[in-house]
């Protein structure tokens, strides 16, 4: 499903990924682990650039619109699936059928109370879950998420990750939390200084192996 061969990538003019070989099959759940600056975000971006069709994205900076409600920010995941006219009407007067779908997704992320609150008035962790909700609403073959639980607590991280696993068959997550990576993913990719230094099934590595990456 994803096939990268000796790829390099640059970020702001500096080469941050070298010699990347990566194959991902349908149904795999990948965790990218490594220090900050090791190239996780760049790898996520690279995969998105190569496979933008039917791919949902949770970028590190969320890309939410503060002045729009939670509902509208989630709905934005599906703008291209409706006519512009429908989108504009929905912007002014939320469509009941869309509200129901969004409400159900938010309920799964413990956000249902904030359906129509402007995103600008949410906390950092709540914003992060809105960004995840958007990707769940969007659906697709592949989910690319860059540190999707970095701002939420342990309990909520598990809730959020479970929702993501249920929503998508193939997932690539950048995760700095090793325990979560081992608990939720079936394949671990270790990155160091822009190179893949570890690629192993999750059951074959221990926390200790991964700590050497940090």
């Amino acid at each position: 499903m994803i096939q990268l061969q000796s790829e390099t990538a640059s970020y702001q003019g500096v080469e941050t990924l070298h010699d990347i070989d990566l194959q991902v099959c349908e149904g795999e759940k990948l965790a990218l682990v490594g220090q900050s600056g090791s190239g996780k975000s760049t790898l996520i971006k690279l995969i998105y650039e190569r496979y933008p069709v039917n791919t949902a994205l949770v970028p590190q900076d969320y890309g939410l619109v503060n002045n729009l409600s939670v509902f509208h920010n989630v709905y934005m995941g599906c703008l291209d699936q409706h006519s512009t006219f429908y989108n504009l009407v929905n912007l002014i007067r939320p469509k009941a059928e869309q509200v129901e779908v969004v409400r159900a997704i938010l309920a799964g992320l413990q956000l249902e109370d904030y359906l129509f609150r402007p995103v600008g008035r949410l906390s950092g962790g709540q914003k992060q879950r809105v960004a995840v909700a958007r990707s769940l609403f969007q659906k697709g073959h592949l989910l690319l998420a860059d540190e999707p639980v970095s701002s939420v607590d342990e309990q909520q991280s598990r809730v959020v990750l479970n929702q993501m696993l249920n929503g998508f068959s193939t997932i690539v997550l950048a995760l700095h939390d090793i325990q979560l990576a081992l608990a939720f993913c079936d394949r671990i990719i270790g990155l160091e200084k822009g190179r893949i230094v570890l690629d192993s099934p999750a059951e074959a590595v221990t926390e200790k192996d991964l700590l050497s990456l940090y």
């Binding site: 890309g63 002045n67 512009t84 989108n87 129509f116």
Partner: protein
């Protein structure tokens, strides 16, 4: 909790203004009166293809006069304004400045023409006085908001002047410089406009070329004016300014002299209400006043408000249409260049000149005024929002086209847009009043007629009413901005954006 969708206060206020604008539109006379408006418009634009520079000495003289009046007026205004800024915390200074600012340069020119005739002092004071009041306010704001840590560290024993030059000016210099040089650009527009009431600047040459139908000359003048404004940063240099300021008085000098008899008569007879001079009884005086209020002030106020509200909404709509033209999120560099040219031309042409041209083409109604105000102000705000939009970072998977416009950009920029629009509200009202001089029945029309009938007492009362109306709009704008928590960030204070939004 937030389980029912509610529109934001900004949304509600916006629709309130749109509704008010539509109601006002019903009360405005909007029509095209001239017989062949499009034929004339075509002739005008054909003139653009054949600009006529043959009368270079006359054109050059008009530009020299325009420049000299602008430089002297702005220099004088900034000097006085700077001094006033030091005592701006005095309430009566604030109030006087608000009133002086609220009266348009052209009204000042009409007043000073009565006092000094065509003496250069008329033009200098017409620009210098309202500019000094504006400078006082903005300079005071800059002083107020600047970093004061150096000031607190300095010895109290040092003299006020040394403290100012050591602890305040170095940090604030850039802010003063940017704002002042921006105001010079405004000063050039003001100076050009003064020609319409008889001063020897660009407006004079332009209106006579227009009346004679010499559209090629009109375009020669306009193109040169755009060039002058576009190159302003190249010819306004700190080292050159003293040269300009020394040369300018020789350029504006003419052989008219001030008649002190005139000055005395103006203050002791002309502006004293007629009933007082005549020694009328109370009921006669009341009759005089109520006649003025009912037959001139009220219709003037109504028309000024109608024009302002329609033009405000139209400016808002146009700026929302204009800003994508120069935004990196919508067009590639080549497309944006055309957008930039369009907006530069529209915002460089003073609205008075735009209105004058459209009025000649379409005949006297509110339509030319609305279109002129909307084009000019829409271009200014569109430019500011367009530049602002460039700072917005979108996700790599962000939508495109109309979806991008309505979901990604408009919600992010709307607060800024409203802030800029409300800043321009007062400016639009001042312009609405002044466009009356062109024959639209706003307050300016009644003021101009009173002056032509030599009823200066009436004119002064009407000017006072105009200024009060402006102060009222300024206060409403401030109230709404505070209520909606619209703030332009302090960082952009010293940029041209900030200046352009508020003049």
């Amino acid at each position: 909790m937030d389980s029912v969708y509610k529109h934001s206060p900004a949304w509600k206020v916006s629709w309130l203004f749109v509704l008010l604008g539509v109601v006002c539109l019903f009360f405005s006379d909007v029509e095209v009166i001239s017989l062949e408006p499009w034929q004339e418009l075509k002739r005008l634009f054909l003139g653009l293809l054949t600009p006529d520079w043959s009368n270079l000495p006359e054109i050059g003289e008009a530009f020299l006069q325009t420049l000299a009046f602008a430089i002297l007026g702005v220099a004088g205004g900034s000097f006085i304004g700077f001094l006033l800024a030091q005592v701006f915390h005095w309430r009566w200074i604030q109030i006087s400045c608000a009133f002086i600012r609220a009266i348009h340069e052209l009204f000042w020119a009409l007043i000073f023409l009565q006092i000094f005739g065509l003496h250069p002092l008329t033009g200098l004071l017409a620009i210098g006085l309202p500019y000094a009041a504006t400078f006082a306010k903005v300079y005071a704001e800059i002083l107020e908001e600047g970093d004061k840590s150096a000031l607190q560290a300095i010895s109290r024993k040092a003299s006020v002047i040394s403290i100012f030059f050591y602890a305040r000016l170095p940090d604030l210099w850039e802010h003063f410089k940017t704002y002042t040089s921006y105001r010079l650009e405004c000063g050039l527009r003001s100076s050009a406009i003064l020609g319409f009431v008889g001063l020897p600047t660009l407006g004079y040459t332009l209106s006579s070329a227009f009346m004679e139908g010499h559209y090629s000359v009109v375009w020669a003048l306009l193109l040169l004016f755009y060039l002058l404004i576009a190159t302003i940063r190249y010819w306004v240099r700190p080292a050159l300014l003293p040269v300009y300021i020394i040369a300018a008085p020789f350029i504006v000098a003419n052989d008219s002299t001030i008649s002190f008899d005139n000055v005395r008569r103006f203050f002791t007879e002309d502006i004293i209400p007629a009933p007082i001079i005549r020694g009328d009884s109370l009921s006669e005086s009341w009759h005089w006043l109520s006649d003025l209020l009912v037959n001139q002030a009220l219709p003037g106020i109504a028309n000024t408000v109608v024009l302002t509200q329609v033009a405000l909404v139209a400016s808002g709509i146009l700026s929302l249409l204009f800003f994508p033209l120069i935004s990196t999120h919508f067009f590639k560099p080549v497309g944006r260049t055309f957008g930039h040219i369009l907006l530069v031309v529209l915002r460089t042409t003073p609205e008075y000149i735009l209105a004058y041209i459209l009025l000649q083409l379409w005949g006297p109604s509110m339509l030319p005024a609305i279109v002129a105000l909307a084009l000019h102000n829409g271009a200014i705000i569109g430019h500011l929002i367009g530049r602002y939009s460039t700072e917005v970072q979108l996700r790599v998977d962000a939508s495109r086209g109309l979806n991008r416009y309505f979901y990604e950009l408009l919600p992010r920029l709307y607060g800024q847009f409203l802030a800029f629009l409300f800043y321009r509200w007062e400016i639009i009202m001042r312009e609405s009043a002044i466009l009356g001089i062109l024959g639209i029945a706003t307050l300016g029309f009644y003021i101009d007629s009173s002056i032509q009938e030599l009823h200066f007492d009436k004119a002064m009362i009407l000017i006072f009413i105009t200024a009060s109306l402006n102060v009222l709009v300024d206060a409403s704008s401030r109230y709404l901005r505070a209520k909606l928590r619209l703030r332009t960030s302090v960082d952009c204070r010293a940029t041209n954006d900030y200046c352009a939004a508020r003049e």
